[in-house]
């Protein structure tokens, strides 16, 4: 009986201890004791001691230490002054300091500014941390991490690093990483090799690689006065020319991509106008402000759902369509309807509306630019090869512009609204006689065009500053695109937008951005004199 009571009390005591220190235990459980021991020294260590500690940590902790090193490298590693607990601290949108467990990422709540202290790092330490992360990545990391690590080593082919590469190759790597390791070995052979054949073979391996270190090594070799081996030198020269040629090709590709990206922006801005101006024949000078409203809607949506920024754009697209679309319907019902058949008056009245909208936004928000956050999945870039990469936001916006275009085309060609719109635009009186409610169709068309402008605003908020003047800067360009492509022709708008974008970007290196813009504008003015109906004029009686 006594035994039993004792064991019960033991269990209870244990339970109590576990309960009281529960959180602390849960945290330290993830970390092996040997590491814990080193970690406890961190807060007190000097900068030099920290370096040694990092070395120890890498030895005892291995791959598990990667998040710690990353946090340290970013300068986010803090410790609590009273408990000595290590944590990663970052500001959230509201400006509060949020602590997280370094290893598990579990939230530790808001931290007082005075309660925590940063673990200092200097440049030497940062280099050491980067190396350590590289080593961890190379041996234990994912495919992409291994690649980055090997690429970093190409810059610094020390014996130490080479043995590291060897051990990585022994662990087993994929083909592309294997190729990179082979490249590193080739570079070493070219540098240290003794026979001509050996070095020529190395050059042959390096011939079509675009990595910068390869280029640098070849250039050094070609420029090297002391290099005796003429055959190697000639081969290096040839390889270098080969590589330069390919780089130039990819430079052109990059230029083309930038041009297409600008074109997609122009297309997005102009596509709503292609409906209101091209199909309805209404000059809407407030079109730019519809784009601006879309961008501000994005901002408001992000303010409303700060916790899920990642999905904010998906919500913003329909929201912006509704906001801009309904403002468009209001404008049509309130003003444009009364100015039927008087295009110049419509132009002036809608310009007045654009001034009012701009000032309204300035009064409601502020004259300053608003901060629109770019979600994680839209930042960063897709590296196609070492010299050619495309940023995700531009890529997505290009795809988005095309998607919007196709959707709009489908609506106009397949839906009954589209049928009515085309009928009214071709012959208003006849459409009315056939029972089409032209007033209704006008309002819907204008709403559709304005809504699309709002959607464009969501996309543009990811590329440019969101301010009251956002729309103004696009209005002239959009009109130019529509007129250039041919009024009333959506496909013309597509071609017009992309060709203007590409032309602009190909002129830019020679002339600079502003002059390129001016040249394109002047060429457009001259072009319209020559062909007033644009690239693809509407044919048939309806056009006259």
């Amino acid at each position: 009986m006594k035994q039993f009571l004792r064991s019960v009390s033991l269990v209870l005591t244990c339970l109590l201890v576990v309960l009281s220190t529960g959180s602390a235990l849960a945290q330290s459980q993830a970390v092996p004791p040997a590491v814990e021991e080193v970690l406890q020294k961190l807060p007190e260590a000097s900068l030099r001691e920290t370096g040694e500690l990092v070395q120890q940590l890498e030895q005892v902790g291995g791959a598990e230490m990667r998040p710690l090193f990353e946090t340290m490298l970013a300068g986010d590693l803090y410790f609590h002054k009273t408990s000595g607990e290590l944590m990663a601290v970052q500001k959230n949108i509201a400006g509060e300091l949020i602590g997280r467990d370094v290893f598990t990422g579990a939230e530790l709540g808001v931290q007082g500014r005075r309660d925590i202290k940063k673990i200092r790092v200097n440049n030497r330490l940062r280099g050491q941390l980067r190396d350590a992360i590289g080593r961890i990545d190379l041996l234990h990391g994912s495919e992409a991490e291994k690649r980055t690590a090997v690429l970093a080593i190409l810059d610094d082919l020390s014996a130490n690093n080479l043995s590291l590469l060897q051990s990585a190759a022994d662990v087993g790597v994929s083909k592309s990483v294997g190729d990179l390791i082979e490249l590193a070995n080739a570079m070493v052979r070219l540098r240290d090799g003794s026979t001509t054949d050996d070095r020529l073979a190395a050059i042959a391996l390096m011939d079509d690689r675009l990595e910068a270190p390869v280029r640098n090594q070849l250039r050094r070799l070609v420029d090297d006065e002391n290099e005796q081996d003429a055959a190697v030198k000639a081969a290096a020269q040839e390889a270098l020319e080969n590589i330069t040629e390919r780089i130039e090709f990819y430079g052109q590709m990059e230029q083309l991509f930038f041009g297409l990206s600008l074109g997609s922006v122009l297309l997005l801005a102009a596509i709503g106008l292609a409906i209101t101006f091209g199909v309805m024949g209404v000059i809407n000078m407030a079109h730019g402000e519809m784009i601006m409203l879309g961008a501000y809607t994005t901002y408001v949506i992000q303010q409303l759902m700060p916790a899920s920024i990642e999905y904010s754009l998906l919500v913003a697209v329909p929201a912006a369509f509704l906001v801009s679309g309904s403002v468009g319907v209001l404008i049509e019902r309130g003003v444009i309807r009364h100015l039927q058949g008087r295009p110049l008056e419509t132009l002036l009245a809608t310009f007045g509306i654009s001034l009012i909208l701009q000032q309204a936004v300035r009064s409601i928000f502020s004259p300053l630019n608003m901060q629109v956050v770019t979600p994680e999945w839209m930042s960063g870039s897709l590296a196609i090869n070492p010299v050619f990469s495309v940023t995700y936001n531009r890529l997505y916006i290009l795809l988005f512009a095309l998607a919007v275009f196709v959707t709009l085309l489908t609506i106009l060609k397949k839906s009954s609204l589209g049928l009515n719109v085309r009928a009214v635009s071709q012959n208003r009186d006849m459409a009315k006689a056939m029972g089409v409610r032209t007033e209704m169709v006008d309002a819907m068309t204008f709403g559709l065009g304005s809504g699309i402008a709002g959607v464009a605003g969501v996309a543009l908020s990811q590329l440019t500053n969101v301010g009251p003047n956002l729309g103004q800067s696009y209005i002239i360009d959009s009109f130019m695109v529509v007129v250039f492509g041919g009024v009333g022709n959506l496909l013309g708008t597509l071609v017009g937008g992309f060709s203007l974008g590409v032309a602009n970007k190909f002129l830019e290196p020679a002339t600079g951005a502003v002059l390129a813009n001016i040249i394109v504008l002047v060429c457009l003015i001259l072009f319209i004199q020559k062909r007033p109906k644009g690239l693809f004029p509407q044919r048939g009686r309806a056009a006259e």
């Binding site: 000059i283 003003v335 009364h338 100015l339 058949g341 008087r342 295009p343 110049l344 008056e345 419509t346 132009l347 002036l348 009245a349 310009f351 007045g352 509306i353 654009s354 001034l355 009012i356 701009q358 000032q359 309204a360 300035r362 009064s363 002239i476 009109f479 130019m480 007129v483 502003v514 002059l515 813009n517 001016i518 504008l521 002047v522 457009l524 003015i525 001259l526 319209i528 004199q529 020559k530 007033p532 056009a543 006259e544």
Partner: protein, 398 residues
């Protein structure tokens, strides 16, 4: 046959319409001259503490308004009488202004911050060694004036010749004029252009040897502005009332018909466009010495479109309406921006909407309507709805 009689009927109606505001016009000229003379006398002769003293600030402000009035008249000539809505007349105004600005810049001589006798300050700042070729001769007043007229005139001629010959009309033309002034704005913002870039030309000292800060110079500039405005007004009225003017109105109302009757409509349009651009350039030339600065902001499309609203408020196709509209709107702007700066754009925007929707003939139309019987009013309204945008009915239906 029907079309012919229709046209004749329309023309006679236009003619009677044109003769009517004649009385109001000479009254306006009288009022303008009397007001500016009285203001000048009050500024120069009365002591500063007198109740009737007019400050130099007011003199300059009035001079500025009158320059704007001249610009508005230039727009009215082509928009009101020929149906060409130019959204880029600010470009001609600014080019004229830059011509005068270059002269004034050279007059500074070695009194600039850097004390360089040849180069304006901004060129010294940019490390330029010598004057660009297009600055040569600008230190001569007559040459500067010639250039300030020739360049906008030439631009208007080339642009108009290209546009009107290929029959670019209506909103297309408006958008292209806007693109033109936008392109010029971007160009003048560049430092490499040699026009002072972002800051433009400023810090002027004197004109023809007279100190620009002196009261007498200010008053003289105001009087010159008034005189030139009156001359431009009388000339323009003579033009629109002549045979030439009748053809121009015919081009506005039915360009195709006028063409079929054997008139080379594009020639009339080009020359009227150039004439209008020259008046705008003169306005710009008078504007710069009074305001004391010219920068690329004058090219901004917003400025040009604001001019159009002045004309619309005053009533287009009347000439005096443009002057009255420019004076009223600018006075309102000065008051408004002083009392509640945020409200001005709301007011301006509302003005655009209200005038176009409810007052298509502006204040002048309102005045004329008072003096008429009901039946005439009805006829007018019918006409308003039909073809007052300057685009023939046929084109509107397209």
């Amino acid at each position: 046959m029907n079309a012919m009689s229709n046209l004749i009927e329309k023309m006679t109606r236009v003619l009677t319409e044109l003769r009517q505001p004649g009385k109001g016009s000479s009254m306006l000229v009288g009022v303008l001259l009397a007001t500016t003379l009285a203001m000048s006398a009050a500024n120069l002769l009365l002591p500063a503490d007198s109740a009737f003293y007019v400050s130099t600030y007011t003199i300059t402000l009035m001079g500025k308004y009158l320059c704007f009035a001249m610009l508005a008249m230039a727009v009215d000539i082509i928009w009101g009488y020929c149906g060409i809505l130019s959204l880029g007349h600010g470009a001609f105004f600014a080019l004229g202004g830059y011509g005068m600005g270059m002269y004034l810049m050279r007059q500074i001589g070695d009194r600039g911050v850097y004390g360089n006798p040849d180069l304006p300050d901004f060129m010294v700042f940019l490390n330029w060694q010598e004057l660009p070729w297009y600055w040569f001769g600008m230190d001569q007043f007559w040459f500067a004036v010639l250039m300030a007229l020739a360049i906008p005139g030439l631009l208007a001629f080339v642009f108009g010749w290209l546009a009107f010959r290929s029959r670019v009309t209506g909103v297309y033309l408006s958008i292209m004029t806007q693109a033109l002034t936008y392109a010029l704005m971007l160009a003048f913002f560049r430092n490499e252009m040699g026009f002072g870039g972002n800051n433009g030309l400023t810090d002027f000292k004197d004109i023809l040897g007279f100190d620009l800060q002196a009261d007498a110079t200010r008053v003289a500039l105001l009087l010159v502005t008034t005189l030139l405005l009156v001359i431009a007004f009388i000339t323009s009225r003579a033009i629109v009332q002549s045979r030439l003017g009748r053809v121009i109105v015919a081009v506005r109302d039915a360009e195709a018909r006028a063409r079929f009757l054997g008139y080379r409509t594009e020639r009339y349009k080009v020359w009227l466009f150039v004439y209008s651009a020259l008046i705008a350039a003169v306005a710009g030339m008078l504007y710069v010495p009074q305001v004391g600065i010219i920068n690329p902001g004058e090219f901004s499309p917003l400025n040009s479109i604001e001019v159009v609203v002045w004309v619309a408020v005053g009533g287009r196709g009347t000439l005096y309406g443009a002057i009255v509209g420019a004076l009223l709107v600018n006075y309102a702007k000065t008051r408004f921006t002083a009392i509640m700066p945020d409200g001005w754009l709301f007011a301006l925007g509302a003005l655009f909407v209200i005038v176009t929707v409810y007052l298509p003939q502006g204040l002048a139309g309102l005045l004329q309507r008072f003096g008429r019987s009901e039946s005439v009013q009805a006829a007018r309204r019918e006409e308003d709805a039909g073809s007052d945008s300057g685009i023939s009915t046929r084109e509107v239906n397209a």
